[in-house]
Amino acid sequence: MEKILSIDNISKEFGGKTVVNHISFEVYKGEIMGILGPNGAGKSTTIRSIMGIIYPDSGRILFHNHNSKGIPINKIGYLPEERGLYKNVKVMDVLLYLADLKCYPKDKAKKRILEYLEKFNLKGKEKVKIEELSKGMAQKVQFIASILHEPELLILDEPFSGLDPVSQDVFKEEIREIAKGGTSVLLSAHQMNLVEALCNRIFLINEGKKVVYGRLEEIKESFANFKCTINGNNGYNVDFTLFPSVERVESVDDNKVIYFKKGASVNEFLQKLSKDIDIKELHIDRISLHDIFVKIAKGGMNND
């Protein structure tokens, strides 16, 4: 796969505190790469370093398609975590200005603005001032600003925060489509279900250090063991912990959540289940990204 961006061993300190600690990752062409971590983990600092808004104390950031040392800012789209646009300026004017700063041709930009406004249910709003839009609408306009100039790399810092579920779906679809078109997307988000649905690969960061990095499926396989949820009237008669493959069991009313040991065979467990067990519902799935994230955030998983 063609590399677009390489983060090579970057570190950043603020007032004696290491916010980003020797992290490295790559972003490939046309993929959606998630950068995840609890609040204050170092995500925004990493993103700002890529954008050249701040400079890392050490390490390198490489844009592979560009020979020059600087950051090819005209080829990057950026939706920062801090949301905002000029309040008393018309939608069309602010979008054209931002496209102009990226050296994108005006007539082309105008055409794309109208197309995107229609796509995001904002048709006819081009002459409306930003302050007259709702928060969600303004967020859509800012999203349009980040993709208008057909970037090679799109960096989205918490794009879903503050959006209603319908708008979240619209954004999700658009991000998928953009990646399909060959743009690489670096996505920072808290909504794990959306990350699971969108990302090809993830980079999990905590306290400035890498925790997990790789393909989503591989990570889930290596980090997330199976769990089995049985709904039925089994009371205290059945002790699932007697099975050698079971690590622990959590009981909530009629639900029993059975967590398996690493590498345990689920098939074997199912075959050995007694016929006396009452089963109204049975699910077998891996621990979700959400569970892993919460475990990390609570300090339950060691860095690296």
Binding site: I73, Y78, G84, Y86
Partner: protein, 396 residues
């Protein structure tokens, strides 16, 4: 087009389509006219009313006194009664009573009673009475009318400077006003520059912009943009002012502007602009919420007013020690030099060159420091920067 110019043209466009900016362009000169001209216009309305002056004349100067006044301003009437008699008659509005008798002559004090709160132009009454009595005294001493007239002729000072030329700073007054208007617009568009950075922080636009332009481009663009806006303001005022000066007061502005000092005056005004604007824009970037900003950043607006402190001494001596201090202290250089060049016949070339040099070097370093401060401060969210933080960023 470079990003600096893109930012500049955006600033210009954004403000020119903003109603409050357009209103302020028109309103500022209007306010000046209103506050400058209206009070004297209003007092003229009051003074232009006819005032009746009843004179009880026991020394026989009534006729001369009557002849001294324009009847439309002060109507002089001879009256034989006392002030109480006049009061009893109920005559009150714009009426006064003057008592001229031997007692007053002896004590050098003449009583003027006003019957209501409206006062006549007392200084003209005083001058007229004095002149008549003085004339009479001189006549008593045996001087003829012609001799008295000769005595009354005054003298005016005719100032000839060191080069033997007649001093004529009137020829420089129009160019000086022109340069002063430019300098004054620093105050008006200066706050615009300050707000421009603050507003972007408040609107949370900074990060989006910084992903497309460098802080340097952003700052330079703002300075250039606000400078052009300031010049547009000046042009609008001149477009109004020049025809008024030309047709109403018969001042040929363009001919008077063509003096050799004008380019130097403009250069000082422009350098002043750059110096102050870079400070305004960088300090503006340290503020997120103008409503809760401390006094520290606000104090920067006092700096362009610094030259006013030097005005009095410079008027007395444009080459004195105070004038020299003001010339070489870079933050007062532009204003002080504008005044000096206007007032002095010739400011020594070495002083102009030296002060320009100091101003240029200071402006260069202030702009560099401002860039440094702007770069850090513009990305700091959540609170206004404290003076300590600003010092730390500047040193870092």
């Amino acid at each position: 087009m470079t990003n600096t110019l893109k930012v500049a043209s955006w600033e210009i466009k954004k403000n020119l389509t903003n109603k409050s900016f357009l209103i302020s362009i028109i309103l500022t000169p209007l306010m000046m006219i209103i506050f400058g001209g209206l009070p004297s216009l209003l007092s003229m309305l009051e003074f232009n009313q006819v005032h009746t002056l009843y004179v009880r004349d026991e020394i026989g100067i009534y006729q001369e006194l009557e002849a001294s006044f324009n009847e439309e301003e002060i109507k002089v009437l001879q009256y034989d009664g006392t002030i109480e008699d006049l009061r009893k008659e109920g005559k009150k509005a714009r009426t006064s009573y003057l008592e001229l008798n031997e007692e007053a002559m002896a004590s050098n004090r003449i009583n003027l009673y006003t019957l209501d709160d409206a006062k006549p132009n007392t200084s003209s009454i005083e001058a007229a009475v004095n002149q008549i009595i003085e004339n009479r005294k001189m006549s008593d001493l045996g001087l003829s009318n012609q001799q008295i007239q000769e005595l009354r002729e005054g003298y005016s000072l005719n100032i000839i400077n060191a080069e033997g030329e007649k001093e004529d700073f009137m020829r420089k007054i129009i160019p000086a006003i022109f340069a002063a208007i430019i300098y004054f617009s620093i105050f008006i568009s200066g706050s615009m520059t300050f707000q421009s950075a603050t507003q972007e922080k408040k609107d949370k636009m900074v990060e989006v912009l910084m992903s497309s332009v460098t802080p340097r481009d952003l700052m330079q663009g703002k300075i250039i943009g606000c400078f052009v806006l300031g010049m547009i303001q000046v042009l609008v005022w001149l477009a109004v002012g020049i025809p008024i000066a030309y047709y109403l007061f018969d001042i040929p502005v363009f001919q008077l502007l063509a003096i050799k000092e004008l380019p130097i005056m403009l250069l000082f005004a422009l350098l002043g602009y750059l110096l102050y604007f870079s400070m305004f824009v960088s300090l503006g970037s340290t503020i997120e919420d103008p409503a809760s900003a401390g006094n520290f950043q606000g104090m920067i607006f006092i700096l362009p007013m610094l030259p006013f402190m030097f005005f009095g001494p410079i008027l007395a001596n444009p080459h004195g020690i105070v004038a020299k201090i003001g010339t070489y202290f870079p933050f007062s250089t532009p204003g002080v030099m504008l005044v000096r060049i206007t007032l002095a016949n010739q400011v020594p070339a070495i002083e102009i060159i030296l002060s320009l040099l100091i101003l240029c070097v200071t402006t260069y370093f202030v702009m560099k420091l401002a860039g440094k401060l702007f770069k850090t401060a513009i990305l700091m969210y959540g609170k206004n920067a404290t003076p300590q933080e600003i010092m730390k960023w500047l040193r870092h």
